[in-house]
């Protein structure tokens, strides 16, 4: 049940045969993080974590093309249901994006839902609630129109 009316920008979900608390902890424990968070051609990950609201993290992913630092701060830590943190990386333009991770228990499994929203700085300056949330979806819509027209 996803009753929250949000507009996703990037949303990925996966059902994993493990308890929510175990998965939740894997996001906040630097030793665990450095083992599993190796997307793509990442050969090694270093993680430093200050797991409290307002606390910062730094996750450095080492790839053949160089080291990619990811930094951010925790905005919400509701064990074992929801984790919200800001996310900065050279790829993201080194300013705000926001990641929400929801852990939904499903029998013996847990559905993990990651929602990653880009926060345009121009919008953030004047943001009121939800003002920016649909922007990326609009891009996608316009992009689709453009392609359809082309």
């Amino acid at each position: 049940m996803n009753a929250v009316a949000r507009v996703p920008t990037v949303q990925v979900r996966r059902e994993i045969a493990a308890p929510a608390a175990e998965l939740f902890d894997a996001f906040l424990d630097p030793d665990k993080l450095s083992v599993w968070m190796r997307p793509g051609d990442t050969s090694r990950t270093d993680a430093r974590v200050d797991p409290r609201v307002g606390g910062a993290f730094e996750i450095v992913m080492h790839t053949p093309k160089g080291s990619v630092p990811h930094t951010g701060a925790y905005q919400e830590i509701t064990r074992p249901r929801r984790l919200v943190f800001t996310w900065n990386s050279p790829y993201a333009g080194n300013h705000g994006s926001l990641v929400t991770v929801d852990f939904n228990p499903k029998g013996n499994s847990t559905e993990v839902v990651i929602t990653h929203e880009r926060l345009p700085s121009e919008e953030m300056a004047t943001a009121h609630t939800g003002g920016w949330t649909s922007i990326l979806e609009r891009i996608a819509g316009i992009f689709a129109e453009v392609r359809a027209a082309g």
Partner: protein, 108 residues
């Protein structure tokens, strides 16, 4: 990319882009299609130009505007990058917690 996001955050500018996706247009043609002044339309067009989304081609006295979708694809690239990033991360988290090689299937 911020300029792109700022440029398309406004409904009138999105409508202008949608109009230019159909065909090139003069500023005056655009103005007649929207219930706002020529001056307002010009301001919006300048923002779209600054974001690289609209090109202006001066042909004699006419200024013909055309759409340049390339900056939008940068935004689309961002989406594609992180879609893959998190799918791969969740697959790895699955493998880490369940101790078995998960299949690569992930639902959207």
């Amino acid at each position: 990319m911020d300029r792109v996001l700022g440029a398309i955050a406004d409904p009138t500018r999105r409508a202008i882009l949608a109009r230019l996706a159909e065909s090139d247009a003069r500023v005056t043609e655009l103005a007649s299609a929207f219930p706002i002044s020529l001056n307002s339309v010009s301001k919006h067009v300048r923002k779209l130009e600054a974001a690289g989304l609209v090109r202006r081609d001066v042909r004699g006295r006419d200024h013909v505007l055309s759409l340049n979708a390339a900056p939008l694809s940068e935004a689309a690239d961002w989406i594609a990058h992180y879609q893959r990033f998190w799918e791969e991360s969740l697959a790895a988290l699955d493998e880490f917690t369940t101790g078995k090689k998960p299949n690569r299937r992930s639902r959207k």
